[in-house]
Symmetry: C2
Subunit: 409 residues, 2 copies
């Protein structure tokens, strides 16, 4: 049993029913004992879907399946298991995926191409597909509208707390809801950031527009978050829109009627991404890194991620040490333009280095106090132009080693 | 006091005199108490030099100085201090560097442009240059030909053991010697790998040819070694050739007369690079990673370094866990071509995965025994073409966190 992250919220936010979505979960015994490990989301007919998948070249068979069917733009079911990622399982793994998809399609009553699937857990072991098939009747019976809590728990692996978020929003004057769950705490890096996240809305939005909104929001949320720079073979994020809210379908992604919906979608994704970073394996501090003064926003993000992924920066924060020299090192290795003699670094809002050297007169007391806290802010200006970016990460502690030196056993 | 690496050799190899080189060291009190921290190498007139420097964009003032004078191709002195890297020290740092250079030039009796300099230690604090100037008379008095042991110890920072290597070699029929020292244990990554290494030979080799030999040998040694993926602002490697051996100067880098010399230079650099990886902060295992079957050698090296830099792979090895799934993950995120369904992975010579899936019948006993040892071999074939590469790294343990969460204090 893992020690819960100090950032674990006292309880999950309450998520109400989202019209057109039913959720179910059962204990299929895939790997874990005495906990649910199989999750099914049933979506209303004509539900539109968009997804973002890992770019790993050794991606799992379930990810390959989603790549194949997502362009269709509709789905009726999402089936997810924890405990086994069905990754690097050869041709058997492909067969397993297709059997799982067929089983969910039969249960929901749809074509296989309308089923999305995700598996998370150990890599390289065959998934006992017969357990999934055997569990399907009970899983179907368990479907109900207010099952968010169980769904969030079912998809967990090394997570120390379930993750969910909700927004009441609108498209034009029509009230719309967005709810989502996420899991992930290791192998967290851009490209994608979390291992798994599933978002549901009752909005009526055609798949091409849904895709466009989702891509932009993921670039500003999960793709700004990193734990250890490693990329999973299974990362999958799906957004399903049932259309039950009854709004008039937008005809383009930048329609003014979508402004509020997009803003709420982005803020919900940021909330989920931050929950994942806060559950980073062994995390004791949540770190926000702002980079400004870069050649452009893209360069700023590269520099920010170089800082966020540096083991030396992350261990310094774990040690509550204002070692800004390591921040400078990470700026230097990022490979993007930076003016060494105009660089400034601040921690907790206090400027520690300016114009390329330490500020000898700075007051260390508030910085020390800031570093003893759980939420750390580092800001760097690299003195070139106006590009800026913000990314999130956590510190690197003994807990990370404890978890990862003995995960498989 | 750091716990010595389990790989620390019982003693330094004996390095005999190298004609045209004298070494000295003193305790200047720059940061450490009761140990030598200032090193000077005096080179015979007309000594030829080549160097490889960090590509960090926030490199230190001493690195900037070397970049400026190395193209001249000759040097009479190399001055090195530990305890303070004189990096990110603004215009003051530039003045400090020039004062140190001037001081060494006066001591040895040469032009400032014939002095190379390196500083290692804390970033962002002003280096007390007056202590260096005050120590210069004693430093000059300490120069002698057989001072390798002291030199190797003087340049250490978080190193747990001094590092030196030697080769008796030849150019044509003429006996030639190469000796070198290195330091480095954190911020170890390609581009460059070690923080500091200084190599000396009595060979007669013009600077342009020396550069060409050195670049090739560094690409195959230090640039194949990584500890934590971080890149120092101070990485510096210098090769000085005094010409005292009396061989006829080669006229091109691929002259057959240089074959033996080059092979011994490369093997010496590999030995030093491996010593640095073996002293990786907190290292308990030394890991050799071979990648074959890649699109070309460059792609193979990218994949090998992706494996070597993966915190999840490094923690699995620390935990003596044959978690080859993480190796596959690291192959996938490298971004180079790999055929997931032809991938094979072996550990300690035993094939664990083949044709994209686990070998169910493999004998786990020899793999477990191998992982309990200190020298770990991982081999991956990615099934595309014939590109191959070998890199070295160490595992990621609690020791790394201990050292880096509290280095500055």
């Amino acid at each position: 049993m893992l020690k819960p992250s100090p950032f674990a919220p006292e309880s999950l936010p309450h998520i109400p029913e989202i019209a057109g979505v039913r959720l179910g979960a059962v204990a299929a015994g895939i790997k874990y004992k005495d906990r649910t490990d199989l999750f099914l989301a049933e979506l209303a007919e004509d539900s539109q879907v968009a997804g973002v998948l890992t770019r790993s070249l050794t991606r799992s068979a379930p990810v390959d399946w989603c790549r194949k069917v997502l362009p269709g733009g509709t789905a009726r079911a999402i089936l997810v298991n924890s405990g086994n990622s069905n990754a690097f399982t050869g041709s058997n793994g492909v067969v397993t995926t297709e059997k799982m998809v067929a089983s969910a399609a039969a249960a929901v009553g749809c074509a296989m191409e309308e089923v999305l699937i995700a598996s998370t857990g150990v890599i390289g072991e065959q998934l006992p597909v017969e357990k999934v098939e055997a569990a399907m009747p009970d899983l179907t019976k368990s479907l109900k509208a207010d099952n968010w809590d169980l769904a969030a728990k079912t998809i967990m692996t090394t997570d120390t707390f379930p993750k969910a978020a909700f927004r009441d929003t609108r498209i034009g004057d029509i009230p719309v809801r967005i709810g989502g769950i996420a899991k992930g705490s290791g192998m967290i890096a851009p490209d994608m950031a979390t291992m798994l996240s599933f978002l549901f809305t009752d909005a009526n939005i055609p798949a091409p527009i849904l895709r466009s909104l989702l891509k932009k929001a993921v670039d500003r949320s999960f793709n700004c978050m990193t734990v250890d720079g490693d990329t999973s073979t299974s990362d999958t994020l799906i957004l399903a829109a049932t259309g039950k809210a009854g709004n008039i379908a937008p005809t383009k992604a930048d329609a003014p009627a979508l402004d509020t919906f997009y803003a709420d979608l982005e803020s919900l994704l940021i909330e989920l991404a931050q929950l994942v970073a806060k559950d980073g394996e062994g995390a004791s501090k949540f770190i926000t890194i702002d980079v400004s003064g870069a050649e452009n926003d893209r360069a700023a993000k590269v520099i920010a991620l170089s800082i966020a992924n540096s083991p030396l920066v992350k261990t310094a924060i774990a040690g509550e040490d204002a070692n800004w020299g390591r921040v400078v090192m990470a700026v230097g290795k990022a490979g993007e333009r930076a003016d060494r003699d105009k660089l400034s670094v601040s921690i907790g809002g206090v400027t520690i280095a300016k114009d390329g050297e330490g500020v000898s007169s700075y007051d260390e007391a508030p910085v020390t106090a800031h570093l003893k806290g759980m939420e750390i802010n580092i800001a760097v200006d690299v003195g070139i132009a106006n590009g800026k970016a913000r990314v999130w990460t956590c510190d690197l502690t003994h807990g990370y080693i404890d978890i990862n030196a003995d995960y498989r056993s």
